[in-house]
Structure formats: structure tokens, C-alpha cells
Symmetry: C2
Subunit: 375 residues, 2 copies
Amino acid sequence: MTAPSVTESRLERARDALAERDLEALICFPSSNLTYLSGFEDEPMERHLFLFVTPERALFVAPEMYDHQIREASPVEDVRTWSDDEDPTRLLEAVGDDLGIGEGRLLVDDRMWALFTQDLRATFPDATFGLASEVLEALRIRKDEAELEALREAARISDRVSEEIRAFGPAAIGMTEAELAAEIETRLEDAGGAGVSFETVVGGGPNGARPHHRHGDREIEPGDPVVLDFGTRYEGYPGDQTRTVVFDGEPCERFLDVHDAVLEAHHAGVEAVGPGVEAREVDRAARQVLEERGYGEGFIHRTGHGVGLDVHEPPYITSENDRELEPGMVFSVEPGVYLEGAFGVRIEDLVVVTDDGVERLNDSPRTWRPLEGRE
Amino acid sequence: MTAPSVTESRLERARDALAERDLEALICFPSSNLTYLSGFEDEPMERHLFLFVTPERALFVAPEMYDHQIREASPVEDVRTWSDDEDPTRLLEAVGDDLGIGEGRLLVDDRMWALFTQDLRATFPDATFGLASEVLEALRIRKDEAELEALREAARISDRVSEEIRAFGPAAIGMTEAELAAEIETRLEDAGGAGVSFETVVGGGPNGARPHHRHGDREIEPGDPVVLDFGTRYEGYPGDQTRTVVFDGEPCERFLDVHDAVLEAHHAGVEAVGPGVEAREVDRAARQVLEERGYGEGFIHRTGHGVGLDVHEPPYITSENDRELEPGMVFSVEPGVYLEGAFGVRIEDLVVVTDDGVERLNDSPRTWRPLEGRE
């Protein structure tokens, strides 16, 4: 749980940002924005649960059954509840009157369901609507020291499990992707992680050529390149790293060249990171290596994504993003090459922009060999 | 994966419903609606991935890296992709022109993120917007035989694990809630389930008084009432059942009376179910028992929720819902009493409305005793 003093200072900064921009209110729904501002965490749900933040005040609208949990998790003292036999839009109207909002601009959570934005539009027909990220992105994109510590520990846990799994070597042959994924997830939990950052990816042979293949019942064969992309959360912050390994046997010649090219692109991307650098320069550095080595066509995604309470968040490391990197930004550098029907290779670390360069959060071996030294 | 013939017939019914109501298009985002109509399944994501359905056509707008996966999962042949170096709103505009939409009424997925509804509103400024449930709820609320079979099997798996866990008896004393939850989840997987329906609830002693407490590091003590609420998915459909048990030792007198009252309310709720009955009559039947026995104040939520691809979906069994029940509707009957600081009791089965009454999907023992016969 986030310390109340931390969420209070975040709320204060959000209120200041609203006041500066002459915005009436920010309305969060269960999401990372809500967790960031209040400390209360839950899955998105079909019941009306909102945090209203105005330049002066903050209050929850919540189902009665969440009352105690919200009060325990959050320093926001004003919690207004509705019960399952009441129409929650009545409470929205009353809150709108009380806060004096509905004539100006309201920001809704970027991940709020249409079900609820429709209700808010009906309740506040004279308001205009924008997205919470208009003010929260600037707050969230630079991580503070406590956030960085959580991200470092999440990365350490993932690295440790990555090394343990690679040590399976020949013992992994004949295991299914799903069995390997289960091993990974058990070990992440045992190592102190809390749940997975995203559904674990184990892509063996041709399945590795699908960047978002999860895992299935295909058995690992000798010589198979296997994409292992996973992470766990520590104090709410996720790990996310990828290695591509061959557990046993000899991979094909083409794989050797592709892996070498992806590794070179990965290092080139990381080396390009620093304060004042545009995000797209990092993408360019990695992409250029793969283009020069003849694999540009196989690199079908961006080079990276920001990581924080959301495992995919700004800054996105794309060929078009000219945003300048700043100290405290955390993102992945994960070039990959995908050869449909054959195999895929992806190598991913998380990095943090520092005052004078870059810090890698991951340091497990990047070689495709199961048990050799670090590259 | 849903059979292509099934999704094709669902798509056809959706297109007919759009035509009947003079609607221009239905726009789904990764959600149960998208899975229901196309067979393609993924988590909500920050990239633009939509299924457009008009009275005549259906097409995907998707990130390039999802192209193969969508084609494999779905019978929809028209898949238009954008790559990470392109602006996806350009593709939205082109698709809008091609489909000839943007002057009439568009329905967006109920769970579409505000991030994307804002984009659609900007792309189609002359359109009016509604929710996908306006047409899809009527299709999804009555389950077909294949859906019912999946729900029955998911219920059987949950029942089996419930009985295995209750057989722990005294061995559960001293285990933490989190350890019990891990045992439950491993066994659900071993019994053929695929992932949990929702985060497993193990609420011991006072934690059971929070209906949405998940699990923590509190150890189970002798005499503790423990709320066990969990389920797993089978062919995409979730189980969801609750039992409240005392693993060892003697519970307090008050618990005995509360458990007896909740069980009576549970049975009264189930007995009220049948075709043509209003949803609120089921709520009333359960609520009345608890009120008469002096526990009305402690029953702080609705009696149940529909269950299908979403674990919470219509019909909701509340005191206000006058919707008539129809054969094929599936929902929970789960009265509970919550005594803050002391304990909670909830007893939940899933039921399906039949042509002449009700079928229970769960039949594991409802007694609080760990190993005795069925009630």
C-alpha cells in the first residue's frame, strides 16, 4: 500500500494542476490513476466507483460494500456511498451539485469504461470532456525514488527467475510452453513477487514469431528458440524483461545471425538513452541496426513502452515520438525480429533515464545459451 | 476457442439487430463482447484494436502484430492493420469512409476505454453514441446449450475443489488466507480449469465481514468462520460459488444462527427462480428471510449477478430490477450477512432458469462443517 503522505502529496499536485489549467474536476475509476492518487486499488468493476478531484477537494463515490476498504487504503476522508438498491446516478447528481461542477471541463480516467462516461455525460450535459492523462501523465511519467526502488526489486526478481529457468537446460525439452509458464509463475511468487505483470509469454519455435503469443501446449524441441517474456509485481510496480534462449541442441544458422543482430540492436537502443534525447532516437538506434543487417521487415513493433503502475504507459518509444526523455522516466528497450512460421527473437531490459545517462534495471545473461557467461 | 460457425451466427444476429434499429455500427474493443462476436480474445490494451460491425459487414482494425492471431481466431476475413509507426486514427477515418458511417448512431463497447471513445468521437463528430449492450445484451443474456455445458463444467470443477479444501479440516488451522488461496488456485488448474474467474476470496474471521476482501496474511484460527469464494474458467466460461466453513473448533453461537439464516435465505432465493419471475422477486425472497431473522442490516449487497463470458453481467438480481427471468439466463444467488469486526457468511450457487423452473449448477455441501453430509 502506498503511504498516505505520498498519496496526499500526489493529490495536492493534481489539484494544483487542475487549478492552473482552469479545469473543474478529474474523475477516476478503478485504475492505476486511482491507485496513484488514493492508494485504493481494485479491478475495474460494473458498479459506480469514482474519485472526484477538484482544485479544492477530493471525494469518493463508492458502493456501500467498499466503504471500509477505501477508508483503510486512502487518506481521502469524504466517502459517499450508495447501496445496491439505489440508483447511483442520483448520487452523481448530488455530488455534482455539491462540488459545483458541470459547466466547465471535466477529465475522465483514460481507462474509464464507456458505460460510465455515458453516465457522466448524461449527468453533466453542459460539461466538456477530456482525459485524466492531460494532467496525470506529467506527474506519473517521472518516477520518484520509492517507485524506482520497487521497479528495481521487481526487475531483480524477474532476473533471478530468468536465470533459474534457463538453468533447466536439456530438462526443458519435452515440457510444454504452459508447463514452463507455470514454473515461471510459481518461482516469481516464491521469489517475493505478487502476481504476474501480464500473462507470461513462452513462445517456442514458430510460436515465438507471434509477438503476443502467450503459451500453449506445444512441447519444446531441441534447437528451438524460445522467447521468454514475463514479470511480476513488487509493491505494485511490474517487472518486464525478455530473453530468447535455446534450452538444448543446436539452433539453425539463421537464428544465430538474427539473435546477434537483435542483441546488437538492443544494446544500441540502450546506449542511445539519456536526458534530452528524443524517444524516437532510441527507436531509430535500435531499428537502424536491424535494417542494416537485413531484418528491418521482421521488426514489426515499436522499440519500447514506459513502465510504471501500468506495464504499458508513456513514454512510448516509437519512430514518431519526439518527446524528450527526462531523468526518472522508465521504459523497455525490446527490439525483436519475427520470422513467420520459423521463430522469433526478442531481447528486453527495462531502463531508467538518469541525470547523465541510463541505468539498466535488468542484468541477467542476454546470450541464447542456457548456462554460459554474461554478454 | 469458439467455433467459427457459432461466431458467424452471432455476428449475423448482431447485424440483424443493428438493421432493425437503424443503427450504423457496433464498435467493439477487446472485451467479452469482442470474444462473443469474433472468437478473438485478448486483454484490453493501449493500442487501437476494434471490431466494426455494420448491418452488412464486419471488419477488424488492429495493430499489425495481431494480424495472424486475429485471422486464426476469427472468421472475420477483413482485417486492416496499422503499424507502430503509423497514426491509427488515419485508419479509423479511412474505415469510416469505406463503411459509410458517421452520420447516424454508433454503439461502442460498454467497456471501451475513454481513451478510445474520445478518438471515435473526434473521428465521427456528427455521430451520436450509445452502448453495445443496447443490442448485445439481448443476445448474450440467454445462454445456448454449449455455453451452459461450459458453465456446468466450470461449476463442477469449483465444487470439486471446494470439497477438497474443506477436507483439510484441522490441517487448515495456522495456514494463512494467501496460502489457502494458492492451494485453491493450484487445484483449480489441476482439475482442468484455465485461470481464475476473479481473485480468490479467503476471508477468515473479521476479514469475512468485508464482502470484497481478497486474501491476506491472517492465519486461520480454530472456530473461525472462513468465507471461500472462487471459481475457474472452462472454455472461457467462469465458475463462481461461495461456501462459509469452520475448519476446526467450535464457532460462536451467533455464527450458528447467522449461517442458518443465510442458508435459509439462499434456498428461498433459489426456490423463487423461474421463467416469468421478476429478478427483484428473487432478491425479495432471500432478503425477506434475513430481515425476518433480524439480519437485514447485515445484508449489504444485491442477491446476485448474471454470469457468462463476464463473471458479472446482466441480469442483476437487485431489489429494483423488474426484468422477467427467461430460460437460459444464468446468475448467482448469494445472500450474505456481514458483521463488521466479527465475521461474514455468504452462500452462493449459480443457477440457470429452465423452461419450468430452475437448475442449480453447484451442489457441493452448504454446511459450515468441514466434512459432514450435504444440506
